[in-house]
Symmetry: C2
Amino acid sequence: MNESRIQRVVGIDAGGTRTRARLADAATGRTLGEGTGGPGNALSVPAAALVRHLTEALRGALGPGAGPPAAVVAGFAGGGPGGGREKALAAVEAALAGLGAGRAVRVDVRGDAEVAFAAGPGTPADGLVLIAGTGAVGARVRGRRMVSAADGDGWLLGDAGSGFWLGREALRAVLRALDGRGPATALTEPVAALCGGLSKEHVVRFAYADRPVRLAELSPLVVGVAAGGDTVAEELLDRAAAELTSTVGALEPRPGEPLVVTGGLLGPGGPLLSRLTDRVRPLGLTPAPVPDGLPGAVALARLLA
Amino acid sequence: MNESRIQRVVGIDAGGTRTRARLADAATGRTLGEGTGGPGNALSVPAAALVRHLTEALRGALGPGAGPPAAVVAGFAGGGPGGGREKALAAVEAALAGLGAGRAVRVDVRGDAEVAFAAGPGTPADGLVLIAGTGAVGARVRGRRMVSAADGDGWLLGDAGSGFWLGREALRAVLRALDGRGPATALTEPVAALCGGLSKEHVVRFAYADRPVRLAELSPLVVGVAAGGDTVAEELLDRAAAELTSTVGALEPRPGEPLVVTGGLLGPGGPLLSRLTDRVRPLGLTPAPVPDGLPGAVALARLLA
């Protein structure tokens, strides 16, 4: 077993953009080291790349020497049940072994919803979590395990109220303004600039030119135009918040239970946070925004150790 | 010039599924020959394949010998302004030349909306056309030329009320039924059978496994389940008809003007035809369904000759 004086644990938050790892004192939770690596979505990142990105993040967090940590908990986007859990677990174990830290370590792999929920105030065990970034998913957690989910169906079928959804709806609003199906909007000018011209053909060509999910990059533009007072953009943010509220509603919320929210749209200061807060108040819920799931992964690792 | 006794013209209807050509007597419109070839979408089919499919269709229509036709009009999906008109024109000319029928022929390439409109009763010159098949687009035609369009924005951004739209919404309705965001629906059982299992994971995996546009193949299933009295499926058909009505409305319809409708959902006996008819009646419009644009292409070729 670990013979160093302090028992150490590692939390990992592996998302679609990057992988973060944090080394902490198991007794106090104090951070001892951090590292970052490439994308860590357990479904979309190939196995070899997943090991490499985890190794980058773990190397930074563990630092030189000092032996294996007592426990590792890793939350993966796409790492839930029915997702890439086995692949993610194998990747974590391979990365730890490659760093000479694989011996006698307890490893647990979770979906991103579970570590995000555990990042909530007081490391709650039961309640709801809602993530809205590029995608959108809600989950009910019981005993620190996800027991049901709503949406998270991806850009083609769902992720209603997500960054992708906002970007796609912004393009649709511009197309509707251009062909007379919808009202004029201040979204038109910046979208036309992005698409290289002010016509439906330009917008359509832009949209189909690359991976659909990249339309999520348009969501800050919607937020900015809405801040300028554009009614169409404001309505898109309202509709996004309404969709996310409907996702929460599908989880049969109970008044007063925890609702942890995160992701680019709902983290601290996120552009949909106040709109969501207003809408879930009648359900007896108060969103607790967290920047990401990393502290939750650390908290779960401390419990595991 | 053509020295045979009868002056002959060719109409071509080139769609996403197949290309059809018809040889007709320029004076009477009587059909003299027909041929069919592979897909003819001017945007998505590569140039060499487009020439090959046009050659197949033209060879069948022209038959052996008999010299070049006086005029050829070809309507192409994706062949409108801003689309693949130049590519389509070059392909028609290459196919005619390859068949030894290129000399002294007048050739005109149109978008599918123009030939579909010309297929309406009495070969109208001015009015509206609405196509709802795999995709959905509306257009205003003046002097047999399209002057404005609504929707036709493709599966990612639009085609509201199309076959793709119905198929995607059917999967979404099943996902919402499965995770509690929506009501139970009789769509669930046949969709689960198609997806290989009764879970959100099965439906999501099916949807992302191949080209999104293939979801249009689910639209007959929606029609069938709606016919069985399922409220959710009926509402999808109602919403599709409402979306198509909105597309017509964006063209600023005038009471009493022609509205030619076609495509799998709106042709004669099409599953959305009566719903659309009810909805456009308050606008003073009566849809005239036609099976396809081929007779319109022939009519335009007779006018050209």
